[in-house]
C-alpha cells in the first residue's frame, strides 16, 4: 500500500497529540520513583529511579493532616465512595426524571424541563453558600451523605436521557402496554436496557465529575476522615513539611499518579459501552 503525504502529516499530528498527553504523565511517573533531593537538584526525570516502592508505600500509608491520622489510602476510599455515589445517583435520578418528563404528558412537563435545564447556569460553586447552609442545618457536614447529596441532580444527564427517550418509537410503549407492562416495568424492562450504553457514558462523565470535586468537600468536611484525594493533594504535602524540611516533590508525583488510577479504571472498564453510547443508539 502506498502511503500518501497527507496520511504522514495526519499521523505526525496524531503522534504529537499522543505525546502531548502521555509525556507529562510519564515524567510524573518517572519522577515519582526518585527521591525528592534528586528531583530538587537535578530536575524532573525521564527514567525510572530506585525509590519507587518506598515513595508509593510512604504516600499510601503515612499518616498526615493536622492530627497525623489520615492516610492517602483513606482519602482514595473517600473519593471513590463520593464519586461512585454521585455518579450512580445522578444516572438513576436523571434517567427517572427524564422518563417522567417524556412519558407522563402533564401540562408542566416542558416548563419543568426548562427549569431543570437552566440549573446548568447555576453550578454548585455559585450556590455554594445556600447549599452549605442547608446541608449544615440538616446536620450532614462531615458525612458521605453530605458530600454526595447536593451534587446528585444533573441537568446535563436529564437532557441526554430525555433526548434519547424521545427517539424511542411510541409503538414500543403501546406494544408493551398491550403486553401488560406497567409504568415501572416499561422503565426497567425497556428504557434501561435500551439506554445501557447511554448509562455507561453518563456514569463515566459523572464519576470523573464527582472524583474531581474540590471546593465542595473542602467546605463540607472539617473532620480529616472525610478528606478526598483532590483536597489531599493540596493539604497533605503543604502541611507536612515545616520550615527546614525539603519539599517532598517525589511523593507528590507518586500521589498524583495514584490519584489518576480510579477514573482511569472506570474508563477502561466501561469504555466499550462509553464509545457505543457516544457514536450510536441501539434501536
Amino acid at each position: 500500500m502506498k502511503i500518501k503525504p497527507l496520511q504522514i502529516i495526519a499521523h505526525i499530528i496524531l503522534i504529537l497529540g499522543v505525546l502531548l498527553m502521555v509525556v507529562p504523565i510519564w515524567i510524573s511517573f518517572a519522577s515519582s520513583s526518585h527521591d525528592s533531593v534528586t528531583i530538587l537538584t537535578e530536575g524532573m526525570k525521564f527514567h525510572i529511579g530506585d525509590q519507587l516502592a518506598r515513595n508509593y508505600n510512604e504516600v499510601l500509608n503515612e499518616k498526615g493532616g493536622w492530627s497525623e491520622e489520615v492516610t492517602a489510602a483513606k482519602m482514595f476510599i473517600n473519593s471513590f465512595i463520593m464519586a461512585l455515589g454521585i455518579a450512580t445517583l445522578k444516572v438513576v435520578i436523571s434517567a427517572m426524571s427524564a422518563y417522567a418528563l417524556v412519558y407522563y404528558r402533564f401540562k408542566l412537563a416542558v416548563p419543568i424541563f426548562w427549569l431543570i435545564f437552566i440549573t446548568l447556569l447555576v453550578p454548585l460553586e455559585v450556590r455554594i453558600f445556600p447549599s452549605y447552609k442547608i446541608v449544615s442545618d440538616l446536620g450532614l457536614t462531615n458525612s458521605y451523605t453530605g458530600l454526595i447529596l447536593p451534587l446528585v441532580a444533573s441537568a446535563t444527564a436529564t437532557f441526554f436521557f430525555r433526548q434519547f427517550y424521545k427517539t424511542i418509537p411510541d409503538e414500543l410503549l403501546e406494544s408493551a402496554k398491550l403486553d401488560g407492562a406497567n409504568a415501572w416495568s416499561f422503565f426497567i424492562d425497556f428504557l434501561v436496557p435500551l439506554s445501557k450504553t447511554m448509562i455507561a457514558a453518563m456514569f463515566i462523565f459523572m464519576f470523573v465529575y464527582g472524583y474531581s470535586q474540590y471546593l465542595w468537600p473542602l467546605i463540607m468536611t472539617t473532620a480529616e476522615e472525610y478528606w478526598t484525594v483532590v483536597m489531599g493533594m493540596k493539604i497533605i504535602y503543604t502541611e507536612s513539611y515545616e520550615g527546614v524540611a525539603l519539599p517532598r516533590t517525589a511523593e507528590r508525583f507518586a500521589y498524583i499518579i495514584l490519584s489518576m488510577i480510579p477514573p482511569v479504571l472506570v474508563v477502561v472498564f466501561l469504555q466499550k459501552w462509553f464509545i457505543k453510547g457516544l457514536i450510536q443508539t441501539e434501536k
Partner: protein, 350 residues
C-alpha cells in the same frame, strides 16, 4: 349481542379534530373484519380505541359481552400487530414472544411450551435466540404475529402490518395471515389502505371515509353494489370511470351518449360510474373511445383514452386483443352494469 360491538363511538382529539363520527359496528366471533380507507380517515383511530390506546370520547365498546371503555389495554385481552412491528429490539425472539406471558404471571414451563408452539406455527423456531435486528422483514413480521398469537387473545388487531414489506413478500404474508387466521380462528380486525389487501383478506369489509363507515359488507357485495361515490371509487382496480351526466325523464345523457329507461326516479345532475372491466367492444356502440395509451399487463390490457370531454377513461380488455394507440373503439356496457350517483350527495340513485 355480537362478539365485538361498537356503539356510536366518537373520537374527538383535544385539538378539536373529529377523527371518528358516531360509528356503530359489530364483529362476530371468528370473523375477519377489514377497515379500509384512505390515510387519515380514522380507521387506525378506531382500531386503537378497540385496543385501548386511544380514549373514547363518546359511545361504548363491548368485547365478549363486557363494556371495555375504561378497561386498561393490558386487561382487554387484545393483541396488536403494529405497522413497524414494534418488536422489542433488546430482547431475542423468544423473549419478545414470552414477555406478555411473563407479565401475566404464567409459569416458565407453560410459557416455554406456548412460545414453542407459536414459533412452530409461524416457522420461526430457528430464530428464537436471535435479536430482531438480525431478522429480515418477513421474519420480523412473523415474530410480531407470534407475539400476538402466543397470548391467545380474544381479538387480533392489525394496523397496516404489511405496508413495510416489498410487493412480493406482501402478497405472500397476506396469504399467510389469512391462512393463519382461519387456522387459529381468532376474531380479527385488519386496518389497511390497500384495497386489494382488503378485498382478499376480509370476511367483511368496512369502507371508512372522514371518520364515517361509508359501507359495510362482504368484499363482493361492496364491489358489486357500492352505495356511494366514494366506495365506488375506492374499491376496484383500476378505478371506476366517472362521467358527468344528467337525468331527465328516466333518460341519462352523458358525454355524447344516452341511456334510456334507467332504474331510478332521480332527476338532475349525476355521476355515472362504469368499471373498466364491465366494458366490451360491440357493434351497437354506446361509448366511442379514442385510444391514447395501452398498458399491457399480459393477462389484460388497460386501454386509456378520451371521450368528448372525459380524459383517462379506462377500458380493460383481454390481453390477446391488439389495440393500437389512436384507434377508435366502440364500447358497450355489459349487462347494464353501471352505477349512478347523485352528484351533490354522492349517494347511489340506481
Amino acid at each position: 349481542m355480537s362478539f365485538l360491538d361498537l356503539k356510536n363511538v366518537t373520537k374527538i382529539y383535544p385539538n378539536g379534530t373529529k377523527a371518528v363520527h358516531e360509528t356503530s359496528l359489530s364483529v362476530d366471533e371468528g370473523e375477519f373484519m377489514v377497515f379500509v380507507g384512505p390515510s387519515g380517515c380514522g380507521k387506525s383511530t378506531l382500531l386503537r380505541m378497540v385496543a385501548g390506546l386511544e380514549d373514547i370520547t363518546e359511545g361504548d365498546i363491548n368485547l365478549d359481552g363486557k363494556l371495555i371503555n375504561e378497561v386498561d389495554p393490558s386487561e382487554r385481552d387484545v393483541a396488536m400487530v403494529f405497522q413497524n412491528y414494534a418488536l422489542y429490539p433488546h430482547m431475542n425472539v423468544y423473549n419478545n414472544l414470552a414477555y406478555g406471558l411473563k407479565n401475566r404471571g404464567i409459569d416458565k414451563e407453560t410459557i416455554e411450551q406456548k412460545v414453542n408452539d407459536a414459533a412452530k406455527l409461524l416457522q420461526i423456531s430457528d430464530y428464537l435466540q436471535r435479536k430482531p435486528s438480525m431478522l429480515s422483514g418477513g421474519q420480523r413480521q412473523r415474530v410480531a404475529m407470534g407475539r400476538a398469537i402466543v397470548r391467545n387473545p380474544k381479538i387480533f388487531l392489525f394496523d397496516e402490518p404489511l405496508s413495510n414489506l416489498d410487493a412480493k413478500l406482501r402478497i405472500q404474508m397476506r396469504l399467510e395471515i389469512k391462512k393463519l387466521q382461519q387456522k387459529v380462528g381468532v376474531t380479527s380486525i385488519f386496518v389497511t389502505h390497500d384495497q386489494v389487501e382488503a378485498m382478499t383478506l376480509a370476511d367483511r369489509l368496512a369502507v371508512i371515509n372522514n371518520g364515517i363507515i361509508e359501507q359495510l359488507g362482504t368484499p363482493i357485495e361492496i364491489y358489486d353494489n357500492p352505495k356511494s361515490l366514494f366506495v365506488a371509487g375506492f374499491i376496484g382496480s383500476p378505478q371506476m370511470n366517472f362521467l358527468d351526466g344528467n337525468i331527465k325523464n328516466k333518460t341519462l345523457s352523458a358525454e355524447g351518449f344516452e341511456i334510456k329507461d334507467i332504474d331510478s326516479d332521480f332527476e338532475g345532475e349525476v355521476k355515472l360510474g362504469i368499471r373498466p372491466e364491465h366494458l366490451s367492444q360491440s357493434e351497437n356502440s354506446l361509448i366511442n373511445l379514442k385510444v391514447d395509451l395501452v398498458e399491457q399487463l399480459g393477462s389484460d390490457n388497460l386501454v386509456y383514452g378520451h371521450l368528448k370531454d372525459k380524459k383517462d377513461f379506462c377500458y380493460r380488455c383481454p390481453g390477446n386483443l391488439t389495440i393500437e394507440k389512436g384507434a377508435d373503439l366502440s364500447l358497450n356496457i355489459e349487462n347494464n352494469k353501471y352505477y349512478i350517483f347523485d352528484k351533490s350527495t354522492g349517494k347511489r340513485v340506481n
